[in-house]
């Protein structure tokens, strides 16, 4: 569909007068060019405006169309590729380096503010080399992060289930450089979490459960590569909600009790989404009715039910988020924005589930 044709249709669907077109059109074009067109799950040939036209067309009344448009204009938060790349670029300097500086300062018994002295100390370089960086999903962009942070390839792994042979190799390489050493700091990195449920489940499962199991299971080669006496684990996200961070911290406590370990474990993120984003949506009664009306309950499956689902139209675990990531939409986002194309109502940014059974959840 040509853009002008889409815009003509949009003006007609929304019943805009020329003044409204003057105002809305430059804004939509600017935002589409800046970010929204880059959504990777649009079908071939479709760009934002075409998707918007089709999306609005499915709403029954002009009033509903206006509410839908308002959801996009006033609430939508789209994280573009450039924005995510920027977060990857700053992760080392903003979060990881300060941790290493503090750790080195504490081991040397000097003030952490003596930055240059610490950075020039061989112990800092040893601490850096004795750190293990693990990507928790392909969204973590661990390859990009490794290049930006100038890390050794033998201390970075792209997946949290590391094979025994890989672990043996990594330890061998580390000990070539620092004889007798083991990894004593683990950085677990991921792009986004909205509920934290895939990291810590109430039964002690989840991604973190599996990793901690590897760390403390003496049968695994992972165990022998770790220096358990000085171990620190830092869980880092590029973007996270306040709720998710809190849930993960609680989950870590449960894991501590389960494995009876006492280590330093922190949970942090670069860009924190606070609850005001969620409340802005849930306090808008008109919008709530609209989202409830245009919801297809077929998206509720057993996995969806693992979260709260009294108001399932608010997204997985009723997260009520308006967030779109450029490569896919999280299912914690309100459903009307992401419902797949085979449902009764279609999302503006249709989500592709990583697993056929909609297991993909952050």
């Amino acid at each position: 569909m040509r853009t002008t044709l889409a815009e003509t249709l949009l003006a007609k669907i929304m019943d805009w007068n020329p003044q409204e077109i003057d105002h809305e059109r430059p804004l939509l074009q600017a935002m589409a060019n800046l970010k929204w067109n880059e959504y990777q799950q649009f079908s071939p040939g479709t760009r934002f405006l075409e998707s918007l036209v089709k999306w609005l067309q499915q709403f029954e009344t002009l009033e509903d169309k206006k509410i839908g448009y308002r959801l996009v204009k006033d609430h939508l938060i789209f994280i573009s590729n450039d924005q995510m790349a920027h977060l990857v670029n700053i992760l080392f300097s903003e979060k990881i380096n300060p941790i290493l500086i503090r750790k080195t300062a504490s081991e040397k018994g000097i003030s952490p503010y003596l930055i240059t002295k610490i950075l020039n100390d061989p112990l800092y370089n040893q601490n850096l080399r004795m750190s293990l960086f693990i990507g928790l999903s392909d969204g973590s962009r661990i390859d990009h992060f490794r290049r930006i942070a100038f890390l050794n390839n033998e201390q970075v792994v792209a997946t949290y289930s590391v094979s025994d042979s890989k672990m043996v190799d990594m330890l061998k390489e580390l000990q070539k450089e620092i004889p007798g050493s083991k990894f004593k700091t683990i950085f677990l990195i991921d792009d986004f979490t909205a509920s934290g449920m895939s990291y810590c489940r109430s039964d002690g499962g989840g991604k973190l459960g599996k990793i901690f199991c590897d760390i403390f299971d003496s049968q695994k080669s992972f165990f022998s590569a770790i220096d358990h006496t000085k171990l620190e684990v830092h869980i880092l996200f590029y973007i996270a909600t306040t709720d998710a961070l809190e849930n993960i911290k609680q989950g870590v406590k449960i894991l501590e009790q389960k494995y009876k370990f006492d280590l330093k474990c922190t949970v942090e993120c670069l860009l924190q989404i606070d609850n005001s984003v969620k409340y802005k949506i849930t306090s808008d009664s008109e919008l709530m009715l609209f989202m409830e009306k245009y919801f297809d309950s077929n998206i509720i499956d057993e996995h969806y039910k693992e979260g709260k689902h009294d108001s399932p139209y608010l997204g997985f675990n009723e997260s009520s988020l308006p967030i779109i990531l450029n490569h896919n939409t999280p299912n914690n986002t309100v459903a009307i924005l992401w419902m797949p194309v085979d449902k009764k109502y279609k999302g503006l940014f249709p989500r592709i589930s990583r697993h056929r059974e909609n297991k993909y959840e952050y």
């Binding site: 002008t4 815009e7 003509t8 805009w16 020329p18 003044q19 077109i21 003057d22 059109r25 430059p26």
Partner: protein, 622 residues
Amino acid sequence: MNIRNPFLLRASERIESDTGFLRLYSPLALDYFIENTNVDEIWNRFLFIRSSPGAGKSSLLRLFEPDSLLTLLNRKSGDEFKEIFGKLKKINAVSDDRIKVLGVSLTFTRNYEILESFTGIQQVNRLRLFYSLLNSRIITATLRAVLSAARLRFPEDLLKIDFIYKDDNLFFKKINVPCDGQVLYDWAAGIEKSIYELLDSFLPGSSTSIEGHSELFSLEALRPEFIKINGKKLFDRVLFMLDDVHKLSSNQREILISHLLEKRNKATIWLSERLEVLNNLKTNRGRDYEELNIENYWKDREGKFEKLLSSIASKRAAESREGVEFILDSHQNELELALLFKNAKAALFKEIATLTSMTSKFDEWKQYLFKFDGTDQDICELAKQIEILIQRNLARNELPLEYSLSIVELQMRIDEKVVQAARLFLCHQFSLPYYFGMSTLSKLSTNNVEQFLSFSAPLYERMLSLNLSMKSISISAKEQDRTIRKIAHEKWKDLDKMIPESALITRFLTNFCTFCFNETFRGTAPYAPGVNGFNIDATRTIKLFNEEEWMNNDIFADLQTVINLCLAFNLLHIKEVMQGKKGEKKNIYYLNRWLCVKFDLPLNYGGWRTKKPDELLRWTKR
């Protein structure tokens, strides 16, 4: 260009491709050179190009840069470039097969001013550094321009340039000339680099290691006969274009200009600057230098300026991906306004009847009006004209001779000014559209292209919206008026962000405009169609003691600030008029026309009042 609204594109520096720039450039400004001087004189004069921001200085200079001229030469027969090429050919900037002028552009930035702040360096050495920096930048810019014009690569092909200047005056102390372009470039770039190092250093400066120059010899040395490629002279002349001279410190600017005028070398030099700087050169215009004040040039050529804007508008519209023309309806849409005119007619008849209830003097005029055969709009305009004339007549302190005034007398008294005033009064009284049509938009632009674009961009956006809604793209007079007023209102709100001392300036302008409004809308329309300017009469100030002229008197500091800033930011502009004693010239400070829109004033020139400096000062206070 694949953009929706090309009217949103601004300064030429930001339009990246030369083709894109040339497509949007309207060459009517070149007529200044064609009209004013014979062809050779253009290149022998020292020229100042002055204007407010956005009037087209940098665009004019960009036109003479080698890349623009080469693009034109390559596409000279294309319809879109024919006119511009023809004009440049007429002034001998290009011929059919080559570029005749090598345009070397040097834009001043604030970092020259930083040199002045190096108080650790003696004044005389600061001056030498300033000349060194200028010489080095002019030389490097010229070498780049030569390669560009010869379609060679920079810096790889610097070796191909032969610089065959005979250094009789020993200007080049550290290199042997004649030499090749590479040697010359390395030497000049080295000087520039060492000055940068001095500027960037946190340590107390030592200028002794830098090669200091005592004059601007680069302009003399870089004559076309001394620059050759493969033994051939490529250009007839070199044009040095020094842009944004106002960014130099006042001392540097003065030194530079005095030096250039004193030397009066054979190089062609154009200096462009904003009107921030009040010209106080004690030289005769025409003999030592020529001045192109772009806004003044258009001021006396209203029709031509409108043509320029129409040409710019159609060029811009042609660049839009949506293929919508820029057309402004210049008539009040009768159908839309029919009811308004009908009501206005009834109200005006009633007003005139009340006004003349005590006299029979105007009976014939009234009869003429009531029986007038025309549209409601025509009748309303006539009624307002008659009302003004009645007001004027009644205001005279004459003994009433109760004879009825004739129709002939009425027709004699209705002149263009009354017609204009009546139209303004009518629109104001009945909320009818007043600011609409291309001619109004041209007046409104106050001889400034960027101002035109700021008003035309939203109007074009509306045309695009109408086109998208599959309606006629013609915007009604009422809608044009509403949009124009809205833009003026937004510009007024933006003043706070755009100008220093905004509180002082907006206070002064509000007071002045309120004064203009009250004078304009007096029933007798004494300064028809209205007042929107002032003249400062310093001679009438009562002197209780021997005080200085307002311009040098600290008591008037606020007024000086207001006038200087208003001129610099194009809120006021000066027009010279001959009035009073024979040959006496007066400077009239007129409001920028968008301010007239903001305060509901007419866009005409000629309506001004004389004010004393202390009266004006009062407007800055409360």
